[in-house]
């Protein structure tokens, strides 16, 4: 039995080998390498290392290179589509970093210049480009991001939430990744030579790969996503498990979903970065799945185009689809002397059968592994996925400038605001000193939350980890770049580089707790926590355990430049919330679920316009937006209706927590008025960011606050009387509209 195939309706590709699928495939098939010293950016340290750079320059203007690459691939993927996608799921790690580096080095402080810094801003940009009107998710799981995004996109379609999803990955070359991997001594000065006995590392690259997936019934000539699998090594922050255990688990899960065995796969597209450790671990993982020793034909394309990080898994998914269309296997460019230790053959063996199905691997920092199976739909019966689970709340924890979980919840339950910056020493007080010695602010917060919600090694370690963050590890990012600039690009810190990736914190949680299941980091300046919850709904099976959290740090130097809420005048706030969850709702405990997550198209560019039209106050502009743009009441209601928070809200909810971000407050207030008028809800309503403080993942703190309110086991009844008896609705308003509910124990959906 297999899961429902999800058809590929459009493809877009841009990388060092070309700016269009057929051309790229031609270069690959010819065995040519596109690796060369960088041309569009100029590292100060010489000699320059070979990279996989897209030949075209970024068009002049304000658009960062990553956004431009994404637009290019999106245009190709959408070229034959009659309508825009219902959702966008994009894997990204660099966002506007290439531009931000230059701005920071030049001492630019004007936030306008940084408006497209956020990793989540690339997907937002595609909303306007493609006319998408539904959920927009950004996955940041380092080098597996693109593949993870495609797996999630397929789940959106299988669950019937969307008919068409644009998904994939994108990254552009920047100093952070170029020098970061260099500092880890993971770059081969001769260019990547995957599987070669003499291989000395990878070549950093850039590009974008996007697929338009749709729910059309598969035909024999279709090429479809047949299965996907995720896992986490929980072994090391930057090295793969030496025996490839996690990689094998991801491949096995993908094959299981596709209803296939490895010997039914006609080609394996390797992660094959060319680093000694990766290629060894991946070979071991494959041998683990093929005890007889017979492996399908396989190759890595990274000797030809380099490793484009978040884009790699998506670019290689496009290549996998082309392999099936064209019945041609790309050679393993760059390897002159195959490493005998790997015990795998890269000779293009004569094929005895047509290429029907391809397995494509992507592994990343934090031990994040993903595998996809792509090919002709399988004739055997497929089973639809089980209903998406609710999540029983088994534990929860909060963190804020007011202190740890107890202090924060006590304040919130008493109606007192929390906010400001947290005390790092206090955050770390309960964590082993050896564990946190290399960790700065965000990962320490994540570990403290993990422990406080009962998921630490001495509690009930989770199977899976879902973490939302608006801005990622700003301390590590700031320190890495500062040291790079101060040393004239000579002494980048490998520690800070590993810590700077958005998924470093979730990787640390897995490492500490031994969580080898799905490990996802989602990011967006407004709804990263809700994205993480949506991902959990899409991927978790009933009975599985997970920790879900949202966390952000208020960095004194970077926040005022990057965070639109800070720019709008919100005082510093940070922290977040974590919930220990079990998939499935029972009678005996409260549960959490996401009701909807929707993107306001014109909210997307609100910050950019606010900032570039200084003569208008934010309020004026937002109100003008409402009258002039398509945010009519009817549209807004339709959007809110999709959150399912509309019908019978008055009866169902005893309390509403509404999040109105400072950067789009006027818009959010208007949305709230419309919602109240439409629902007739006249119960109590809390403007929760006035209590939690304004930060990207304040919704996580609100969810934990609600969990504490309904908790029958709450230890400190002195704060507020009995547990709250009715369901609590948590609305996120502004550029992103979201709704979650926390339901007391008596009710079961």
């Amino acid at each position: 039995m297999s899961t429902v195939p999800v058809c590929i309706a459009g493809m877009g590709l841009i990388c060092a080998a070309g700016d269009e699928s057929e051309r790229v495939f031609g270069t690959l098939a010819a065995g040519r390498s596109a690796l060369a010293p960088p041309h569009h950016f100029h590292p100060r340290v010489t000699p320059h290392l070979p990279v996989g750079e897209v030949a075209q320059a970024t068009p002049p203007g304000d658009l960062p290179r990553t956004h431009w690459l994404a637009r290019s691939a999106a245009k190709q993927a959408m070229s034959g589509a009659a309508a825009g996608p219902d959702a966008i799921v994009l894997g990204v790690t660099t966002g506007g970093m290439a531009r931000t580096e230059g701005l920071l080095a030049a001492g630019v402080t004007d936030p306008v210049a940084y408006a497209r810094h956020a990793v989540g801003s690339v997907a937002q940009d595609l909303v306007a480009q493609t006319g998408c009107r539904g959920p927009v998710l950004t996955i940041s799981t380092a080098c597996s991001s693109g593949a993870v995004a495609l797996h999630l996109a397929a789940q959106l379609i299988r669950h019937g939430l969307c008919q068409r999803v644009l998904a994939g990955g994108v990254d552009s070359l920047c100093r952070l990744t170029y020098y970061g991997f260099k500092s880890l001594q993971l770059i081969d000065p001769a260019g990547a030579r995957p599987l070669c006995a003499e291989r000395g590392g990878m070549s950093v690259a850039e590009g974008a790969g996007l697929l338009l997936l749709d729910d059309s019934p598969p035909r024999p000539e279709s090429v479809a996503l047949l299965g996907g699998g995720l896992s986490c090594d929980a072994y090391h922050g930057a090295k793969p498990h030496p025996e490839g255990l996690g990689a094998a688990a991801a491949m096995r899960a993908a094959l299981n979903e596709a209803g296939l065995r490895l010997d039914q796969i006609d080609y394996v597209n390797l992660h094959g970065t060319g680093t000694p450790d990766n290629d060894r671990a991946e070979a071991q993982a494959l041998h683990r799945l093929a005890p007889t020793g017979d492996l399908p034909p396989l190759s890595s394309i990274k000797g030809a185009v380099g490793h484009s990080l978040a884009a790699a898994g998506a670019i290689e998914a496009v290549i996998a689809a082309l392999v099936v269309h064209q019945q041609h296997l790309p050679p393993n460019t760059g390897c002159s002397d195959p490493d005998p230790e790997l015990a795998i053959s890269i000779d293009p063996s004569p094929r005895s059968r047509p290429i029907q199905r391809v397995l494509s691997n992507s592994f990343g920092f934090g031990g994040n592994n993903a595998a996809l199976v792509i090919g002709r739909p399988i004739a055997s019966a497929s089973v639809p996925p089980a209903d998406m689970p609710c999540f029983t709340i088994r534990g929860y924890a909060a963190l804020s400038g007011s202190g740890g979980s107890e202090a924060t919840l006590k304040a919130l339950l008493a109606g007192a605001p929390v906010g400001g910056r947290a005390d790092l020493a206090k955050i770390s007080a309960g964590l082993p000193a050896g564990l946190v010695r290399r960790l700065k602010r965000l990962p320490r917060m994540a570990l403290a939350l993990t422990q406080a919600c009962g998921c630490g090694p001495d509690g009930a370690p989770p199977g899976a980890v879902y973490l939302g963050t608006g801005w990622g590890a700003l301390s590590e990012t700031n320190d890495f770049l500062n040291r790079l600039f101060e040393s004239e690009e000579r002494f980048p810190s490998p520690m800070d580089f590993i810590g700077s990736v958005h998924n470093a914190a979730a990787g640390q949680v897995a490492l500490w707790t031994g969580a080898t299941g799905e490990n996802l980091t989602t990011t967006c300046p407004y709804a990263a926590f809700e994205q993480a919850l949506m991902s959990a709904h899409l991927l978790q099976q009933n009975g599985s355990s997970l920790v879900l959290m949202g966390v952000d740090e208020a960095h004194p130097q970077l926040r005022p430049k990057l965070d639109p809420d800070a720019v709008a005048g919100a005082p510093p706030a940070e922290g977040g919330g974590a919930l220990r969850l079990e998939a499935g709702a029972g009678q005996e405990a409260p549960y959490l679920r996401l009701l909807g997550l929707d993107y306001c198209r014109h909210g997307a560019t609100l910050l950019e316009r606010d900032l570039s039209e200084r003569d208008l106050s934010e309020r004026d502009l937002s109100e003008r937006d409402l009258s002039e743009r398509d945010l009519s009441e009817r549209d807004l209601l339709a959007r809110l209706a999709r959150t399912h928070a509309l019908a019978s809200a008055s009866q169902r909810y005893g309390l509403v927590l509404a999040g109105l971000p400072a950067s789009c407050r006027a818009l959010a207030e208007r949305q709230l008025r419309v919602w109240r008028a439409a629902t007739g809800f006249d119960g109590p309503l809390i403007d929760y960011r006035r209590h939690t403080g304004d930060f990207a993942t304040a919704a996580a703190l609100a969810a934990v606050w609600a969990a504490a309110m309904v908790d029958p086991q709450r230890r400190d009844p002195s704060v507020v009387g009995d547990p709250f008896p009715k369901a609590i609705l948590i609305l996120g308003l502004g550029a992103v509209v979201s709704a979650m509910e926390v339901v007391p124990m008596a009710e079961v959906p």
Binding site: S183, G237, S487, M495
Partner: protein, 88 residues
Amino acid sequence: MPNLLEELPRKIVATLNLPDIDPGEIDPDEQLVGGRLGIDSIDVLEMVMLIEKDYGVIIDSKELGAKVFTSLRTLAEHIQRQSGELTN
């Protein structure tokens, strides 16, 4: 050399933020990586940067690193040898 054996442990403990380690108590001949001190391969890379920045000595391969970072003494000797060669 005596100076190096005194200042290296201080710099290493500070750079790597090693908890509960007194720089003065690190034996010049004890195992530097993978032992009691809790120093691992990522720390080695951070030390590579430190050594290059402060002493101008480049350690650019894992094979060389494995030899040089055997102990404080091997590290100090390598730095002295290399910087001696540089000044000469």
